[in-house]
Amino acid sequence: MLQYLVILLDKTSTSFCHYKAPSNSPKEGRTLIPLETLRQGIRFGMMENLMIQYVYPDHELPEEYQEVLESIDHSKIKPYGQEDADVLVVDGFQQVKATVPVVLRVTKKELFAHQAEVAEMLADVPRLNVVLTDVETFTEADFEAYKECLTRLAANVERLYVDGKSPQLNLLTDRMMLSQMNNCGAGDTTITLAPNGKFYVCPAFYYENEADSIGDLEHGLDIKNKQLYKLEYAPICRHCDAWQCKRCIWLNRKTTLEVNTPSHEQCVVAHLERNASKELLQNIRKHGTFLPEQEEIKEIDYLDPFDKRDTWQ
């Protein structure tokens, strides 16, 4: 069931996920969403009872937009440095402080190189979402390095908990808190409105191919094979308990050609996080009662559920 409408306020709106958005230079195509399109988008959201998330570009919006933007309850995703945001996005490694959740978009190389600074940031932001922008390029050596990186980050998270703080790092703490899949929901619970007035599964689908829309404001939504965006129709994911995995529909299609099938790399990365979360949960509990309602995360003998497919039936 649809719950969220992401509205890209400009073609150069900041990326808050795996995909790359066009740069903010006027040359590369700043295209502001027309005011009337924005009004219609908001109206659509109201009629469908959707929660609206505006994604801002790295330049100021004209004054006349403010009144329209404020005509409905919403949250604001903005590039780091802007004020009045609900979520701030840092593109490329940069050590920041903030009073709102921060999305840190980094490559694996950046993460491995700056893991100590990332660990330090946990005390300076209420929540840190690390988004790896090159998951599909992970090699066996990268998996090893990532495992080590997660272990070190987990040690820091544990220390902060012992000190009475409650750091949030999506890679490690989400899985400890979850009791079911918590995926991004693109195409299922969330859709995106682009500046051209068309709907897309998520911003990445818009940037990859504008013709790949799932409807428009004039004719409404038309999501073909919409069941394939649901967990029950994802043969690998529905057998998986790496519940923190974003299950990126766009990366799925990019790497396997199917929106419901993740790549080996995405599965292994998610399982390394899952296993690190398991260790972290056990280690924190050694210091006292912690999340007593949550079950232990089970020991498993695989990193890619695909390898266990013979046991599914």
Binding site: K224, P235, I236, H264
Partner: protein, 418 residues
């Protein structure tokens, strides 16, 4: 009478591990002498012929990567177009395969089969015959003959000298050119089966065609309706009537002794459990197809020349190898995930086939996870006639006290999928 010792049937191969075989297909040419009206190969041409270099590099890649090809046995399949147009290349490929499997002490050595599906036109030629003799014991050949002359010639027509489909008034059927080779084929492959394809226009000729094939000495008739959306209103009724007449003829004339027709199977037409009977129908992704450009496909039906409206799905090539991520959707496909609710709830679901390539080609989005249902009415008609066939046959056998004996010796008919 065929002397069994001289028979060249592939079953002579002692090490064959049936059911555990990898199917590897060389698309040696996209050319064919015929322009069959129901052919799903929409992009046939004379230009895309496999080179020896591509064939050799493919073989080297496959034999170098035992970890991807762990099946106990292998079927080296050659298709086209018409594969025997490239008999020289095929001969060279097979010689190299045998030599390399031996040299590498590969687990497929002596557990392999060379398989062909041919239009039969060149079957008698010296080159094809020499190949068959040279590879005796490891060859499987199916000749496609569609039934009576009028049924066969309705669809299986020669293309023009220029290589195009002829105008209706210039159509020339290929029946006579094929049927003349059937005795030689049956002499060499006494258990040879043929594959018959039924499109809308063929329905009135089903009964006569199956019986005609039996009369030619072909005891195994593998027959299926095309998966494409070609069916007209009323076709299901006509189809049902033809199958009922065929059922009467087979039973009344005792053709059920020693012959099979895949339309009749006592396992079809039952509901399927959504958990226990959830396997995918076809083997796309478990096989490997290679084309003239050296591209790899999960099945031939995903090559460009097979697709009407979608891009090909290329899962690798001879240079870079197989991209295993692109195989994941195929290897995790199951029945219920790709089926609409109507199919999941269907009370006569068993035996209702699908072709993964046609599913992909006909899908609303670029996915293999949307089952095409164009044959729904035809399957239901088949089930009704099939029920009639088995009820009538079993009653007759019971009355004659022969049911137990029949069940014991019954030949299993094959489900035809493509």
């Amino acid at each position: 009478m065929v002397n069994k010792k001289e028979s060249l049937v592939y079953e002579a191969a002692g090490q064959w591990k049936d059911g555990a075989a990898k199917n590897i297909t060389f698309i040696v040419t996209k050319d064919c002498q015929l322009a069959c009206k129901y052919c799903y190969l929409v992009g046939k041409n004379t230009k895309e012929r496999m080179s020896w270099d591509v064939a050799k590099r493919s073989i080297d890649y496959i034999l170098d990567h035992k970890e991807y090809f762990s099946e106990e046995s292998v079927i080296w399949d050659f298709i086209g177009g018409e594969p025997f147009l490239e008999i020289d290349l095929i001969d060279k490929i097979c010689d190299y395969l045998k030599m390399e499997m031996f040299r590498r002490n590969h687990h497929w050595f002596n557990s392999y089969r060379f398989s062909f599906s041919t239009n039969g036109i060149n079957y008698h030629t010296d080159k094809v015959q020499n190949f068959i003799k040279k590879n005796a014991g490891h060859v499987s050949i199916g000749i496609t003959i569609d039934g009576t002359k009028r049924k066969h010639d309705l669809n299986r027509i020669w293309k023009t000298k220029e290589g195009f489909s002829p105008k209706p008034e210039e159509e020339k059927g290929s029946y006579e050119d094929v049927v003349k080779n059937i005795p030689l084929w049956l002499e060499q492959f006494p258990n040879g089966g043929t594959k018959v394809t039924i499109s809308s226009a063929d329905i009135p000729f089903i009964k006569e065609s199956v019986l005609h094939l039996y009369s030619l000495g072909i005891h195994e008739v593998n027959i299926n309706v095309v998966f494409e959306d070609v069916w007209k209103d009323g076709d299901d009724k006509l189809f049902e009537e033809q199958l009922m007449q065929l059922a009467d003829a087979i039973i009344d004339n005792k053709y059920y002794l020693g012959n099979t027709c895949s339309f009749f199977s006592d396992s079809i037409g039952k509901p399927l459990d959504k958990d226990l009977d959830n396997r995918n129908w076809c083997g796309a992704g478990r096989m490997l197809s290679i084309d003239a450009a050296g591209n790899f496909y999960p099945c031939t039906r995903f090559a460009a020349y097979s697709l009407r409206s979608k891009k090909p799905i290329i899962i690798g090539n001879v240079k870079d190898g197989i991209n295993k991520n692109l195989l994941r959707p195929f290897l995790t496909l199951d029945r219920t995930t790709q089926s609409p609710q109507e199919c999941i709830d269907c009370e006569v679901a068993s035996g209702c086939a699908w072709c993964q390539g046609e599913n992909y080609d006909a899908a609303d989005t670029s996915t293999v996870y949307q089952r095409a249902t164009a044959i729904c009415k035809m399957h239901k008609a088949r089930v009704r006639a099939n029920n009639y066939y088995w009820n009538k046959l079993y009653r007759k056998l019971e009355m004659e006290g022969q049911r137990e004996e029949f069940e014991k010796n019954k030949k299993k008919s094959n489900d035809v999928i493509c």
